[in-house]
Symmetry: C2
Subunit: 307 residues, 2 copies
């Protein structure tokens, strides 16, 4: 299943990290934006073109160091259908460079509607006898507040298309505890129950390296909860946001990894995309080089805490 | 705030229902599809064109009877960026006919990313000094598993742009209880806690007709829970899916409405879109007429249970 492919890419790169592609226009160097706005004006199409050029150069600089990218849907949707076109271009280009693509969409719905989301982001859409792919990532983040009815349609597509999902279990934000940390009558917390549900769903997508095709999103900002989730679900692959810009350090992440150094992938978005703004005397034309240097620094930092 | 506008449209139509636009290709009559596929082949662009023609005719047949439409994002995303273009066309057209548009996206994320979703679906995106709208609905459905951090950015946009949100509280599907009905240590259920959080968030968006700009999604299939939610949150406007095709009847819905017949809007998607397939001897060319007849039947059914 899907995470076998991800695990093999992580092993080949010796790097369990993923670069988030959350391309706000403010992050993009002027030398890219100026000629595009000059030619196309302040339009959705111009924004989409700027983002595409930015992403492409980032991917070119990162693909032999970082095994995966995680485009965040919101930053494409905010530029309309033109932005969604750039999302598809970005996914295709990253895959052509051998990267594993996790679309961060946190999609959720039930029955036929979840089947439509599964088709949109992981599977195929049938049109007059043709089977076409809409966005075609390797994995999708999802929100399971609706229960099994919202997950089952994804499992079917993951099985058929060799894809995977990451379910939100314990998110990296400050207020994540408002709901996720509530204590149930059984003594269990809501996020613990969610982890247990994910393990059950994962039994339908076994992988060859211990980990199923149902992973979990667990914030780097909550190392204690991460440890607890690892105890509940030893076979669940973890996607870990919140490292770097959001304040999570590498120290607490050791528990996420097994003795082979596998079991999790740590995301960094802004710190990589905007590395050129933080590096001393870095010309904006070298933004992709700065992103690569930050990605290598991060790799070393994460690798220092694993087996 | 936003639901004031919705409430005024409901009052004017005397009809507290919304037509879901979840346009699967299978629902679209052959006489629309055949010439499009003939000309454009089995492509995403062809599918997007078919959906656009279907939606436009539905809107033409419904706008003077039904005050609102609810396009479901998944059915546009599955047709790629071309489908997202149709989503925008559909929203614009429905608004031009005076309808209130609820985009059913169940979006969720935190901080800057939720701000991006809010810009995408309700607000404006700034591009080189221009402020443009990406999808520009009147309201958006959202999932609050991430807590206040995922809701706050929406409240700001709703205040500035006179828009609203509907938060998932108790969904209509069979397995919704797996998480939503869990009993907390306090004796409260998870969905009750969610309703209470929504009421708190709603205090930031007061409306002139009692109801705030933070509504809740509550399935017609759970009349007992609907009653309970109405007790917890008397000032929360309810979006009620699950009527009709999903098995929920009108009988249990009385509790959702106040003595003026306000407080909720009941959705029907498939039963309206596919009415022509159920009506005896209805030629497919009259699909929009059948949709209108079903919408009127539904209006009468719902109105029979309210004050």
């Amino acid at each position: 299943m899907s995470f076998d492919r991800l695990i093999e890419k992580i092993k080949a790169a010796g790097n369990p990290t993923v670069a988030g592609l959350d391309p706000r226009l403010e992050y993009i160097p002027e030398y890219i934006k100026a000629p595009v706005f000059e030619k196309m004006g302040g339009t959705m199409g111009a924004a989409a073109e700027c983002i595409w050029q930015f992403n492409r150069q980032l991917i070119d600089a990162l693909y032999d160091v970082v095994p995966a990218v995680k485009p965040q849907c919101a930053y494409y949707e905010m530029y309309g259908w033109q932005g969604m076109h750039t999302l598809r271009q970005t996914i295709d280009y990253a895959k052509s460079k051998g990267m594993f693509v996790i679309t961060d969409g946190k999609r959720n719905d039930i029955g036929a509607t979840m089947t439509a989301y599964a088709a949109a982001h992981l599977g195929k859409t049938e049109i007059n006898g043709e089977r076409l792919s809409a966005f075609d990532a390797d994995a999708l983040t999802v929100n399971a507040y609706l229960g099994t009815d919202g997950i089952k349609p994804l499992l079917d597509v993951c099985r058929d298309e060799d894809k995977g999902i990451f379910v939100l279990v314990k998110t990296s934000n400050r207020s994540s505890g408002e709901l996720q940390d509530l204590v149930l009558g059984t003594g269990e917390r809501v996020y613990e129950k969610m982890a247990a549900l994910c393990s059950e769903w994962g039994m339908e997508l076994p992988g060859k390296y211990r980990y199923s095709g149902v992973g979990a999103v667990v914030g780097a900002t909550y190392p204690e909860q991460l440890k607890r989730i690892r105890e509940i679900s030893p076979d669940m692959f973890l996607l870990i946001p919140g490292y770097g810009a959001q304040g999570g350090g590498a120290q607490g992440l050791g528990a996420a990894f097994d003795s082979d150094g596998l079991g999790a992938i740590v995301n960094s978005s802004r710190a990589i995309m905007c590395a050129y703004k933080k590096e001393e005397d870095c010309p904006e034309e070298d933004f992709a080089g700065a992103a690569r240097r930050e990605a290598i620094r991060m790799k070393e930092d994460i690798c220092s805490v694993i087996g």
